[in-house]
């Protein structure tokens, strides 16, 4: 597997130095934010395709309003000039139309005609200028594709559903997790009647076994220190364990006669959210990373599973069963502020974007299982995997270099 097919090279990078210039055009933390009017003008070969992809990225955030080039009223203008003499090269600039000054000018090039990676890079830059925050347009999502006869494959795609590729074809792959640096994928798979936890080094393309015992071994999440939390029934009953990415320092964290599964770390790695049916039904619990300080987070409903921790550590998204259907909920990590985000069909397996603005999930709302994105405010839900592909269990990557 080739990890880096395209190497983007910023040939020229000259930020016009403006002392104290940290103007933010959209404050995404304020409620009821008004979209920023922006103009994009593109010239040169393939420029229209790049512009389309850039607009697709920015549109998904709901924070931009595109103004026609001949119509006044935009606050920012982006000028792009594409050139395909050697590979693809785009010179673009972002200009503040109110203060009439150039904020950013940059040339991005690739040795091949790589429209989408270049467009995502430009969109990230525009987003950064407008919001002061890092965009997620160059992140990726891994997911499972049902290939029939009880087998599931691990696949990867760009955040917008393009550039879909298969990573692991063998056996029945299930839960999976990204390491915080994006280098490793850690996943559980059943092959030859054995459940093992594997790691895939995306740099070398090498797969190795991280943990194996009899029974079920199901990976949950990974901490910033590359500690892997997982559920194992090695001692007879699914309990939570941690191990480091090199397969050392195995620790057992829970001791109960109940099911304990799906452990995910808080973003700082200090706590673990997981599912336990110790109270009679599956509910979300939180404990410290050493297994102490256990507390229950969900109290409504009788089937709450698959927790995901938001990147700011404040909320946990999970799948809750209500009126016979599975839906995505969010709850504050202290158990307050429970809120339902989906209502059509069955919606499961939430995963946050690294900026916390989007949730990826799977849904059968259109009659087949597919991956969808939504904004954290439950607006704008969009399917990103094709109809013919039975896709589920998305895991959003961290920011990637």
């Amino acid at each position: 597997m080739r990890v880096c097919v395209i190497v983007l090279v910023c040939v020229v990078f000259f930020l016009i130095p403006c002392p104290g210039d940290t103007k933010i055009y959209i404050d995404i933390s304020s409620p009821g934010v008004r979209p920023l009017p922006i103009k994009i003008i593109s010239k040169g070969p393939r420029a229209r395709e790049i512009e389309w992809a850039v607009k697709g990225d920015l549109e998904a955030t709901g924070l931009f309003e595109f103004v026609d080039p001949d119509v006044p009223g935009a606050e920012l203008i982006v000028n792009m000039k594409a050139d395909t003499d050697a590979g693809l090269s785009v010179l673009f600039s972002i200009r503040d139309l109110i203060e009439n000054k150039e904020i950013l000018k940059k040339r991005i090039s690739s040795s091949r005609i790589s429209i989408r990676p270049i467009a995502h890079t430009i969109a990230d830059d525009i987003y950064k200028v407008a919001t002061g925050k890092k965009g997620v347009f160059r992140t990726k999502i891994t997911f499972l594709k049902d290939s029939g006869s009880g087998k599931k494959e691990l696949w990867i795609m760009d955040w917008d559903g393009y550039n879909v590729r298969r990573l692991i074809a063998k056996g029945l792959t299930s839960s999976h997790s990204w390491s915080h640096d994006g280098r490793y994928l850690i996943y559980s798979a059943q092959r030859y009647k054995k459940w093992k936890i594997y790691t895939l080094d995306r740099r070398t393309g090498r797969e190795s076994v991280l943990f194996y015992s009899k029974g079920l071994n199901l990976v949950g999440g990974t901490s910033p220190e590359n500690i892997v939390a997982f559920s194992s029934s090695r001692d007879g009953n699914p309990e939570i364990y941690t191990i480091d990415i090199y397969g050392k320092n195995l620790r057992r964290l829970t001791r109960s006669i109940a099911i304990e599964v799906s452990p995910v770390f808080s973003p700082d790695g200090s706590q673990i959210a997981f599912v336990s049916d110790r109270g009679g039904t599956p509910q979300i619990y939180v404990m410290n990373k050493d297994g102490t300080g256990l507390r229950r987070v969900t109290f409504e409903g009788s089937y709450n599973t698959s927790p995901a921790w938001s990147p700011d550590g404040k909320i946990i998204a999970y799948t809750g069963r209500i009126n016979g259907k599975n839906q995505i909920f969010v709850v504050k990590f202290d158990g307050s502020g429970n809120r339902q985000l989906t209502f059509d069909g069955n919606n499961e397996n939430p995963s946050f974007s690294p900026d916390g603005l989007f949730i990826a999930f799977d849904s059968d709302r259109d009659g087949y299982r597919a991956i969808y994105l939504m904004r954290i405010n439950a607006q704008w839900k969009k399917r990103i995997t094709p109809r013919v592909m039975n896709a589920s269990s998305p895991e959003w990557s961290p920011y990637l270099k």
Binding site: K193, G215, L218, I259
Partner: protein, 185 residues
């Protein structure tokens, strides 16, 4: 004429003899006595060999005679047991089936089994894998409590990943919430 006929007859005999000699080389008449001596020695091992073959054949037959019924019996005995939604306790209706399986395993100590734990589609995938693990273990624990050695039972969970029935109704879901028993090869 008679002489000629005799000569021809003799010639034919010689030719035939020569031919016969050429084509039936091993039983050379000159060696017959030797062969007979050897034969006497050979007969014993030959008969022994034959006996051995017969024994082997008989043994093989015995094995196949046994094997066919065992798989057939297994088919009748190793029936699926079913569970309630989100539960892994052994239901009363599953106990007679498990008792029969325990008897069968105790009667045939050379047989090992795999218990597959399965769930319906309504739960979430990861939790269902854990639930299937517990369902398989529940049946294993029951069989062990009836005197079956735990080393003869392997458990595996498939969660909701290998449904028997693909419709979305309670009848179908009940079929899928099962432990399935398989003879280990």
């Amino acid at each position: 004429m008679k002489r000629y006929a005799l000569i021809i007859a003799l010639l034919l005999v010689v030719i035939v003899g020569a031919c016969a000699k050429r084509y039936t080389r091993p039983p050379e008449k000159a060696e017959v006595p030797k062969e007979e001596v050897i034969k006497e020695e050979v007969i014993k091992p030959e008969t022994e060999e034959v006996k051995e073959e017969e024994i082997a054949y008989a043994r093989e037959e015995e094995v196949t005679e046994k094997e066919i019924p065992i798989e057939e019996i297994a088919k009748d005995v190793l029936r699926d047991i079913h569970f309630d939604f989100d539960k892994y306790n052994i239901r009363p209706d599953a106990r007679p089936i498990l008792d029969e399986i325990a008897d069968f395993l105790i009667k045939h100590p050379d047989i090992n089994i795999v218990i597959e734990g399965h769930c319906d589609e309504r739960g979430t995938n990861e939790y269902n894998l854990a639930l299937g693990d517990r369902r398989a273990k529940a049946a294993k624990d029951y069989l062990v409590s009836k005197g079956v050695s735990p080393s003869r039972i392997l458990t595996i969970t498939y969660g909701e990943e290998r449904p028997l029935c693909r419709e979305s109704n309670e009848e179908c879901w009940q079929k899928n919430r099962r432990d399935h028993f398989v003879l280990m090869k």
